[in-house]
């Protein structure tokens, strides 16, 4: 009896130690495992920066079996409930960080800039090719900086459309940590654009939505406003203001839309879990010769809801 007790105790201790190692091995900042069942260790809850993991050891016969009328889910964790989580953040182009770039790689997740000073690992960046009303954009989070090459976790936006070697002098990289989309001083001959990226992570099994709504027109006052785009395209020389959203999870792509202050507009949507899901939302402005002078302003509010 004593030997048996000691044996059980030793097994418990050994498995507990394995458990510790397993916990460390499970920690990750880039991957998401909602449930696991490993036979060398287990932990009720392990966490990392973005994720929370529950695991179990020593299971036999776990899994799912089905028949015509029944479904069997076997395993210690089978009935457990995920701790719900939803993270949402935005970041907007910071004009002061503008730096030219000379090469872009979609597959390699890199962009080569003229100077990497001012950028740090962990920064979100935006890449703009052909700056202006027809610009292309991508966004990503810096994971490495080697010399003048910035490597990101992934590209979101229009990465397949960007040139490997941009041809003009209007191709730039920006840090995307601001909350002001500064369109600057306007001229009739040039349209101005800024953009915001979203970032959604959630374990909501039915996905999530991201909506935008404005607090009114882009305006100096309630009576002095920029005309909202109505023809689907903000055009140079014509007073128009609107937005465009791009990205694989973007909703309502393919044209410029007017922001509404009376209803929300869905700009990003997923029907399943989100893992650093991003889209880019551009603000586009063009003025005409008669556009009233002044300092214009508008607040665009983003909201995100998870569908559990």
């Amino acid at each position: 009896m004593m030997r048996r007790t000691s044996l059980v105790a030793l097994v418990c201790i050994a498995l507990s130690l394995l458990n510790v190692f397993a916990v460390r091995a499970m920690t990750s900042t880039n991957f998401q495992i909602y449930w696991d069942s490993v036979n060398i260790g287990g932990e009720d809850t392990s966490t990392s920066t973005n994720f929370r993991l529950r695991d179990t050891i020593g299971e036999h016969g776990s899994g799912t079996s089905t028949s015509a009328n029944f479904r069997l889910s076997a395993g210690y964790r089978v009935g457990d409930v995920q701790d719900p989580f939803l993270t949402f953040s935005i970041g907007t182009q910071e004009n002061a960080t503008e730096v030219a770039y000379s090469a872009f790689s979609n597959a390699g997740k890199t962009v080569t800039v003229s100077s990497a000073s001012g950028y740090s690992v962990g920064d979100y960046i935006g890449v703009v090719e052909d700056k202006g009303l027809s610009q292309l954009i991508v966004t990503g989070k810096i994971t490495d900086i080697t010399g003048s090459v910035l490597t990101v976790d992934s590209w979101s936006g229009e990465p397949a459309s960007l040139s490997a070697s941009p041809g003009g002098s209007d191709d730039f990289v920006y840090r995307m940590s601001g909350y002001t989309a500064a369109l600057g001083v306007q001229s009739v001959s040039t349209g101005k654009v800024s953009f915001t990226h979203t970032n959604v992570t959630t374990n909501a099994s039915n996905g999530y939505s991201v909506m935008v709504q404005s607090d009114g027109d882009l305006r100096v006052s309630t009576s002095t406003v920029i005309t909202k785009v109505s023809d689907g395209t903000v055009t140079v020389g014509t007073e128009e203001y609107g937005g465009e959203v791009v990205g694989s999870l973007a909703v309502g792509t393919g044209g410029d839309f007017a922001f509404s202050s009376t209803s929300t507009r869905t700009v990003q949507e997923s029907a399943t879990y989100g893992n650093n899901d991003r889209v880019g939302l551009m603000y586009k402005l063009a003025i005409g010769t008669g556009t009233p002078s002044g300092n214009y302003q508008q607040i665009v509010t983003f909201t995100s809801t998870a569908n559990y």
């Binding site: 776990s62 029944f70 089978v78 009233p292 665009v300 983003f302």
Partner: protein, 431 residues
């Protein structure tokens, strides 16, 4: 179904079955003498409650899979009581792990002003609301998790809000202070909550007053037959807002154009006057500005219409008609642009320039009604104006420019000579 029938196993059966033990890990690696934990869900009901074993959860042994085997004799003889107690404890702990019907619910947040994005930092009372998808049994657990953690411990609201029940029944959630941290608050339902009950809980979150941050508030109920979960966001200090700004620089232009608006001019020649006709000449004022409040223009002549200082022609009396044979000089008609001014309602440049009248300018001259003398001695007089931006069409435009016509008539006694007058217009943008 390899080793399960339709969930008829009782606790007694579980105890007997447990002779063949395997390790069950609960929490931090604690090994309990239990077996594989199974769940059977009838697709037509999807219930998993322990109190409804026929449709919910079952538990079954998998023989020959344990760490060791006990003979019936040894089991009865050695430490039966101790084992029984252990097994009962195991079962109790196992029961606590029985799966519940888990459902995602829609969670909404509301702060003191009833919104989710008006957070301004500091301690904020936020009500987290949702609708139960099933029954929350008495003593079920409610865990509210805020992420990232707040800067201090979550507390109850000043007015404890437990609104899963009406006030007549009383508060139905109890939060012990000891269960509250900066990231979680764990409470207990003091009464059973029926299915599809809308309710919520108000807690005070010590949110940093300086950190622009979106906070996730998650709900998780457990311990009963229903486990609801969901999360929503609370946006603080504009963490979900972008302020779009743009500056449109000021512009202002003014030109005196010929009557066809095809060229600039600085003359208006009345020609040789006669007593039998009224002579006239015209020019246009082309004014453009993006001044938000439009522009004002004034008119002022250096002197009356005169022949090099030797003779002065009589000014027309305001709003009286010119007549051949009667000496008079002045502005016979003023036709302000009828478009080119930004409409406050449509934003289009479809409004017109305004001719000044009584009260707007020279008290004795009403430019909005013809005719008008040219003011000379009373300082600049408001002539035409607009209250919003002016953007005339590309020249020539007879609609977006203002036409000014001067006329003169002489009598038989009008002195001969070459008469002139310099009229000065000044345009000021109203930015």
């Amino acid at each position: 179904m390899p080793f399960l029938e339709r969930s008829k196993i009782t606790v007694h059966q579980v105890l007997n079955s447990n002779r063949h033990r395997e390790g069950l890990t609960i929490g931090n690696g604690i090994i309990l003498p239990t077996r594989v934990f199974v769940r059977l869900i009838h697709w037509s009901t999807m219930r998993g409650a322990m109190d409804r074993p026929q449709t919910g959860v079952s538990w079954a042994p998998k023989r020959d899979a344990g760490i060791s085997h006990y003979s019936e004799t040894n089991f009865m003889k050695k430490g039966f009581s101790l084992r029984s107690a252990g097994l009962i404890a195991s079962v109790v702990m196992m029961m606590s792990q029985f799966p519940a019907a888990a459902s995602g619910v829609t969670v909404s947040l509301s702060d003191g002003v009833g919104t989710v994005d008006a957070g301004s930092g500091g301690s904020t009372e936020i009500t987290t609301s949702w609708t139960s998808s099933g029954i929350y049994a008495t003593n079920s657990t409610l865990t509210i998790t805020v992420s990232p953690a707040t800067q201090d411990t979550i507390t109850n609201c000043a007015t404890v809000d437990c609104n899963f029940f009406s006030s007549a029944i009383g508060c139905d959630i109890s939060f012990a202070t000891s269960t509250m941290t900066s990231s979680t608050a764990t409470g207990t339902f003091t009464q059973s909550v029926a299915t599809s009950t809308a309710g919520g809980i108000c807690l005070t979150y010590p949110i940093s007053a300086t950190s622009v941050q979106n906070y996730s508030v998650a709900v998780l109920t457990s311990g009963g037959s229903t486990s609801d979960f969901g999360a929503a966001l609370y946006y603080v200090l504009g963490a979900n807002q972008v302020t779009v700004t743009a500056t449109v620089p000021a512009t202002l232009s003014f030109a005196i154009r010929n009557s066809a608006d095809t060229a600039n001019t600085n003359t208006c020649a009345l020609g040789v006057l006669s007593t039998t006709a009224v002579s006239s000449c015209s020019y246009r004022l082309r004014i453009a500005t993006n001044a938000t409040n439009g522009f004002n223009s004034t008119i002022l002549a250096d002197l009356d219409f005169n022949s090099n200082g030797n003779a002065t022609m009589t000014n027309i009396v305001n709003d009286t008609a010119f007549a051949a044979g009667t000496e008079a000089y002045g502005i016979s008609t003023l036709t302000a642009a009828d478009s080119g001014v930004r409409s406050a309602t449509s934003g289009l440049f479809v409004a017109g320039i305004v001719e000044s009248g009584i009260g707007a300018g020279y008290a004795t001259t009403t430019f909005n009604t013809d005719t008008s003398p040219v003011p000379t001695t009373t300082g600049a007089v408001l002539f035409v104006y607009a209250t919003s931006a002016v953007n005339p069409e590309v020249a020539p435009s007879l609609t977006d420019t203002t036409l000014v016509t001067h006329s003169a008539a002489i009598s038989a006694g009008t002195e001969s000579g070459a008469y002139t007058q310099t009229v000065t217009y000044r345009v000021t943008g109203s930015f």
